[in-house]
């Protein structure tokens, strides 16, 4: 296949010769033209950085022959004088689906439907319909002139076209936008390979989550390697075969949003791929991390429209960060250029492609240099596709793709007259049009007016200049013929209609009055148009450098910080300290924090470098640890019965306001768990709530690895009457585990045997296939990964412990565990902890016997017991939830407090560095205004690793700043609207919050 492609490619490289070959049959007499043109006297950008004045361009048979200042016209050449005009290489768009079949529309996912567990694609293709690596754009491509016109009108000469369907999207083709036969316009049939985090038209059940998309791509990389290894004896897979054949091409990943870009890059790093990343224009929000990817970028200029803020009530629904992004989006490209990132600009994402130039010019106003813009639209896309010899400049031998413009293309009124593609002109405006710019005296019968003609030849605007306002004249200029229509009296709409022609510097002709009578008219040239400051809209004329702009906040949310908080030396004096150690609760105690750790606990401590915090009358505790949380995640559930291959670490989203809100409730660390849609869920991410950190920096370094299991109603899909997925009963749930661990054990042995071989023996042997799902289960058997198991009723809890014991491991934690009190003695014997709700019950059948005494009873039986949230709202008052065990069952306050601090730290194997106020432990500390178990207690300070991430006083200041920023941006949006900017409705956003089970949106279904 590859060889064939190369032959095809060679043929195509010479495709412009075909025009002269008589390959195409013609209906009539063959009409081959000479196709030699010499353009003279133009300002030519030979490439983005080489400007030649008074220069000439010679093209022949659709290819550039020469560029220079002293070119002679060869015999047979048509000489075109472009005095005053500019020539640029045509633009290239790397993000297009031009000429391809549409993505089939499929029914969106719904949890109420019967699951499609198998692929639908027939034939030996991938086992998952979201892997469409076998898609070959060139076989799907057709020349579609209507689509091409939209690109040509804004100056594009070639696009890279790929169908946006699937996680692996196969190949793209580099094609020109000429209307010639596809055989001619296809420049590179297989130009790049494409990937995304969007399953597209696949209706196959797995995967549905962001981490599932990543897991499936990872497994496909592994399978592709296995496929072409000796280990594969007789398995045929056209998708994997195609996948392998595309690996040497440029690899393009469609990853809208910087968060997805970072994830894609991480995926690429694992498999030695440097993707070209296709973003969404928010890269400025996380520039440092984006830069570190070293990836070339494809970036749009689809800046958001201002919101309609007319109604102050409605405007309240718009989140500040959306307004900030509206203001800052046009600065994105200049940020990228300043940081030296390699990028190309796409017209993709624009609702109307005509917005391309106004938006690009806006970016230039905000500091993007013209050279950088031209590079990003010509040289860089060609280079990224290794097609510098074909496109992107006007060097000898490249395709004759170029633009003829009225002048500097980046200036406001610039007109693109012609877009030449492969030597064929596509005329957009009349280059020969007379320059009519000036002030005229328009005489119609006995009336006379002052008329102004502005703009570039071919795109002139006509207006009657009156005292204060201009009356627009509807004008058509065709060659030397002119038609003008206007209403002299703005009070009525009676129109005067004039027809005439250009004569010297003047216009003249005949016209009809509103009453139908014919009269002669003339327009006599008076003087040149003086440049008026009003011609540019006030917003645009404002120099970007002096414009007030929103700060870039980390995270990009209200309450974010322009700089991340820094760890300092702090001395908290005279507080009531809840140590969670043998010392218990000690009053009037000092705690010294240094280098992110608790340095000293005692009386009369001092440190000259320390910032002193008065703790008198206040309580100091270690931070709350939420053993069960789903905040700061892009997805929660995937749906394969065994989803052990998915990793929550892949989808941590630090731009979540709930992080800040939970800091205000004293939380410092959380286990971000997979949902409960399946018996074997995904791998956990354990984070500290470092507000503003990059996703990877949220993770707790060196923490043990965990995984989520789940039992009961959710995994047997009780809420879906149409469900066919195994298991449907608790009996089946046990068998899922028995099967999975039986397989995992065998898998583990295979790998252990292989890994035991010497290097020499390994050379002869064939490596077994890596299976990410089984690998994670093998880790459990090997006690390298620990299970947090969602569970409710006693029968299943008992079962789970038996299964684990059968395979020689222990369940680490039962979470929810509302009937834990019924088998707490067995749990204690097994050594498993319980992480439960204080008082949730009655929302589904399996929690009918959930009681608020559960925590007390488990604790009494010797189970390490924690109270968790599983809820973004409740997480900010876990101290109160812990207090409920004092009420229900009479737990001591100290024991109750440990249930949200030390005990979850134990359950997460982090108690050696977290969970108590002890010298040497992490300085994750919370200062409370009152007894921490009291409803009246508020968090005054929340510190993680010695950095204060929440401070009640700072919070007050932030509120004021937010109010000011809102007011400023609302005014600015209103101003933009009044200056004619189209607006978007103030519909606002609604945040999607996850519970353990996000299967029923809007309902608690825990």
């Amino acid at each position: 296949m590859k060889k064939l492609c190369t032959v095809f490619l060679c043929l195509l490289l010479h495709s412009w010769v075909w025009a002269q070959e008589n390959i195409y049959p013609v209906n009539g007499v063959r009409d081959n033209r000479l196709g030699i043109y010499l353009f003279t006297n133009a300002t030519i950008f030979q490439d983005y950085q080489t400007r030649l004045d008074k220069a000439s361009l010679l093209i022949k048979d659709g290819v550039v022959e020469a560029v220079g200042t002293n070119l002679e016209a060869p015999e047979g050449a048509r000489v075109i004088d472009l005095q005053g005009k500019f020539i640029y290489p045509s633009l290239i768009d790397l993000y297009s689906n031009y000429g391809l079949s549409p993505v089939p529309e499929t029914k969106p996912f719904s949890y109420g439907d019967k699951e499609q567990l198998e692929r639908k694609t027939e034939g030996p293709y991938s086992t998952n319909d979201a892997i469409k690596s076998h898609y070959n754009a060139v076989e799907d491509f057709a020349v579609k002139d209507e689509e091409a016109t939209l690109y040509r009108e804004i100056g594009f000469g070639a696009v890279l076209t790929n169908k946006r369907d699937g996680l692996a999207r196969g190949s793209s083709s580099l094609v020109t936008l000429s209307d010639e036969a596809p055989n001619k316009v296809v420049l590179i049939p297989q130009a790049a390979a494409h990937y995304s985090f969007d399953k597209g038209s696949s209706t196959q059940y797995y995967p549905i989550s962001k981490m599932g998309f990543i897991a499936l791509l990872r497994q496909t990389y592994l399978d592709a390697a296995w496929y072409q290894s000796a280990a594969n004896q007789d398995y045929s897979d056209i998708s994997l075969q195609a996948w392998n054949s595309l690996q040497d091409l440029p690899q393009i990943f469609d990853a809208p949003g910087w968060l997805q870009m970072l994830r894609a890059d991480k995926l690429g790093d694992e498999f030695g791929k440097q993707y070209i990343l296709c973003g969404s224009g928010d890269e400025y929000q996380r520039l440092e991390e984006i830069k570190a990817t070293q990836a070339p970028l494809i970036v749009p200029v689809n800046f958001p429209a201002p919101f309609d803020v007319n109604d102050p009530y409605d405007a309240q629904d718009i989140d500040l960060e959306e307004m900030m992004h509206w203001e800052l989006a046009p600065t994105n490209l200049s940020h990228l250029a300043e940081e030296g990132l390699e990028f190309t600009i796409t017209s993709n994402g624009l609702k109307d492609k005509k917005e391309f130039w106004p938006n690009l010019r806006k970016a230039i106003q905000h500091g993007l240099s013209e050279e950088a813009a031209l590079k990003a639209l010509t040289y860089t896309p060609a280079r990224l596709l290794r097609a510098e010899n074909q496109l992107g400049s006007l060097n000898k031998g490249v395709a004759a793709n170029f633009l003829v413009t009225s002048g500097n293309i980046f200036e406001k009124d610039a007109v693109i007259y012609e877009n030449w593609i492969q030597g064929k002109p596509f005329v957009l405006a009349d280059r020969e049009a007379s320059n009519l710019e000036g002030v005229y005296t328009l005489t119609v019968g006995d009336q006379s007016y002052s008329m102004e003609v502005s703009g570039q030849p071919g795109k002139h605007q006509f207006a009657l200049a009156k005292d204060t306002t201009d009356t627009k004249i509807n004008a058509t200029v065709q060659g030397d013929m002119v038609t003008l229509t206007f209403a002299p009296d703005s009070q009525n709409n009676e129109l005067v209609r004039l027809s005439g022609w250009v004569e010297g510097k003047n216009l003249k002709g005949k016209g009809q009055q509103p009453d139908g009578s014919w009269i002669p008219w003339t327009a006599t040239y008076q003087k040149a148009l003086s440049p008026s400051p009003e011609s540019a809209s006030p917003q645009e004329s404002e120099p970007a450098s002096t414009e007030e702009l929103a700060d870039i906040l980390y995270p990009f949310l209200p309450f974010g910080n322009p700089q991340l908080p820094q760890a300092k030396t702090y001395l908290i004096k005279n507080a009531t300290v809840w140590t969670n150690e043998a010392e218990g609760i000690i009053e009037n105690t000092d705690v010294l924090v240094r280098d992110g750790k608790i340095a000293q606990v005692g009386n009369n401590l001092s440190d000259n470098n320390a910032e002193v915090i008065d703790g008198s009358g206040k309580h100091l505790t270690s931070g709350i640890i939420d053993e069960h949380s789903h905040i700061a995640l892009s997805s929660v559930n995937d749906v394969a019965t065994s989803s052990s291959m998915v990793r929550m670490k892949d989808v941590v989203d630090p731009v979540d306001i709930d992080i800040y809100r939970q800091l205000s409730g004293g939380v410092t660390a959380s286990q971000l768990l997979h949902g409960s849609a399946n018996p074997i869920g995904g791998q956990s991410a354990i984070v500290k709530l470092r507000w503003g950190a990059a996703p990877e920096d949220m993770l707790i370094e060196g923490a043990d690895e965990f995984i989520k299991f789940a039992l009961g109603e959710n995994v047997k899909r009780s809420s879906n009457e149409n469900s066919v997925r195994y298991p449907q009963t608790r009996m089946g749930v046990e068998q899922v585990y028995m099967d999975a661990f039986t397989q995992a054990k065998a898998y583990d042995e295979t790998w252990k045997n292989y890994n035991a071989l010497s290097a020499k023996e390994k050379g002869k042997a064939v490596a077994p296939r890596r299976d990410l799902a089984l690998e994670a289960l093998a880790e459990i058997i090997n006690k390298e990964r620990f299970v947090t198991c969602h569970s409710y009723v006693q029968s299943e809890i008992n079962m789970m412990m038996h299964v684990a014991e059968h395979f020689g491991f222990n369940i680490n934690t039962f979470t929810h565990i509302l009937e834990g009190y019924k088998v707490a003695d067995k749990m204690a014997a097994h050594g498993v902890g319980g992480s439960t709700f204080a008082d949730w019950w009655a929302y589904k059948f399996e929690v009918r016997y959930a009681i608020p005494y559960n925590a007390t009873l488990m604790n009494m039986a010797g189970v390490t017991t924690a109270i968790n949230s599983d809820d973004a709202e409740m997480a900010r008052r876990l101290n109160q939830e812990a207090a409920k065990s004092v009420k229900y069952g009479g737990m001591t306050e100290e024991e109750a407090w440990k249930m949200v601090t030390l005990n979850p730290a134990k359950l997460l194997h982090l108690d050696d560095r977290m969970g108590s106020v002890k010298v040497g432990k992490d300085a994750d500390l919370v200062l409370w205004s009152d007894h921490p178990l009291s409803i009246y207690a508020k968090v005054e300070k929340n510190m993680i690793d010695g950095s204060i991430y929440y401070d009640l006083e700072e919070d007050t200041k932030k509120r004021e700043m937010i109010a000011q920023e809102r007011a400023r941006l609302v005014q600015k949006m209103q101003f933009a609207k009044e200056n004619g900017a189209p607006t978007q409705a103030a519909a606002g956003k609604v945040k999607q919050r996850f519970h353990c089970e996000d299967l029923f949106f809007g309902k608690i279904s825990e």
Binding site: E713, A842, Y843, K844, I851, M860, E873, G889
Partner: protein, 441 residues
Amino acid sequence: MKISQLVILLIAFTGTAGLAQVPAPGAPQSQPILLTGGTVHVGNGEVIENAAVAFDKGKITWVGKASEVNQDTVSYEVIEVEGKHVYPGFILPNTDIGLKEIGAVRATVDNNETGALNPNVRALISYNTDSELIPTIRFNGILLAQVAPQGSMVPGTSSIVHLDAWNWEDAAVVEDDAMHLNWPGRFTADFDFTTFTVNRKLNEEYTPQVRMLEELFADAAAYHQLGEPQITNLKLEAMKGLFEGSKALFIHSDEPREIIESVNFAQQHGVKRIVLVSGTGVNLVKDFIKEKSIPVIVSNLHVLPETTDDDVDMPYKLPYLLSQEGILVGLGYEADMNAGARNLPFIAGTAAAYGLDKEAALQLITANNAKIMGIEDQAGTLEEGKRAILFVSAGDALDMRSNQVDMAFVDGRQITLPAMQQRLFEKYEKKYSQEGDAKME
């Protein structure tokens, strides 16, 4: 079967059956009762230390300083409550407790009738006094509730009940007290399963929905003018009380513009008593609400702020912000998990943590809720002549740290507080302490 076997079986059966049943309602008050020595929280902001409360035949007969009790208390059952706190029974408005037992089991859910306009649908007859949820909310001091239908635009009519009854008829405090109106939103939130995101978009049905309500209220007002309609229209009949003031209209809306629109709508149609049930959306239109003298039930405090810009304590301080304006504010516990309503005292505590004086916070769920629901002459405060619906807590009942309800009375009848959850606790506490003992040996 031998008789002895039968006896054993019977005992075993009644034993199990006992576990699954809610406690029997308390026996009628047979003698006057005097609670003395405790701190009395009257419910209207007043606190009396070393106080006494007397009640007889189900009514409060005296409240004051314990030292000032000048009645002959020989016939009284005198209960010493020194160091403890006496509160009026807390009032839970706008709940579907008794209508929905287990949310995920459809057969146990009776809170939401089909159809957009159901003014005639009555929650009361569906209210199940044997719901297992009821003892759990009484356990924390909630003794009265407004049981309200949920769902459609006009889901129906609520009733006010006390929480210690044999059946709904006995439970009723005010039958059909209010009609509920879920005012439509101009924007709707749609969950997009293709992208797993929520999109907020204009509700294209808004105008037709409002027109439907216009027609309903205009027709009901016209119908109300008729003395004797030829044919009874059940829906319009059910709305008559709105124009007479015998039935309140509870408007549920959390969007500023919709609040203004819906309140104006109800007033223009001649509705006499309007109550707004709302969240933080009301904060932007509080002057309007004040001007119109509309009382507000804050639907819940244990909710997150609406937008990212909102103050982190926004819902918590809402009762304070509204009270500051002089608006009559009550507090509810609206949540999909209706069992959570047992935490009503603690969200009142939250209101105290975020701006309100503790007694003013208490007032939200006692005097204010009573006044808003139109039962202030019967309940809501510990005052002479009111129904003896009250409880004693070992500590501050608004704080979970100290809320320990020792005894509670409904119409003077002492009610049984422990129920299934407490019995399960005892059962397993015994199991583990025995096992512990066994290990010790």
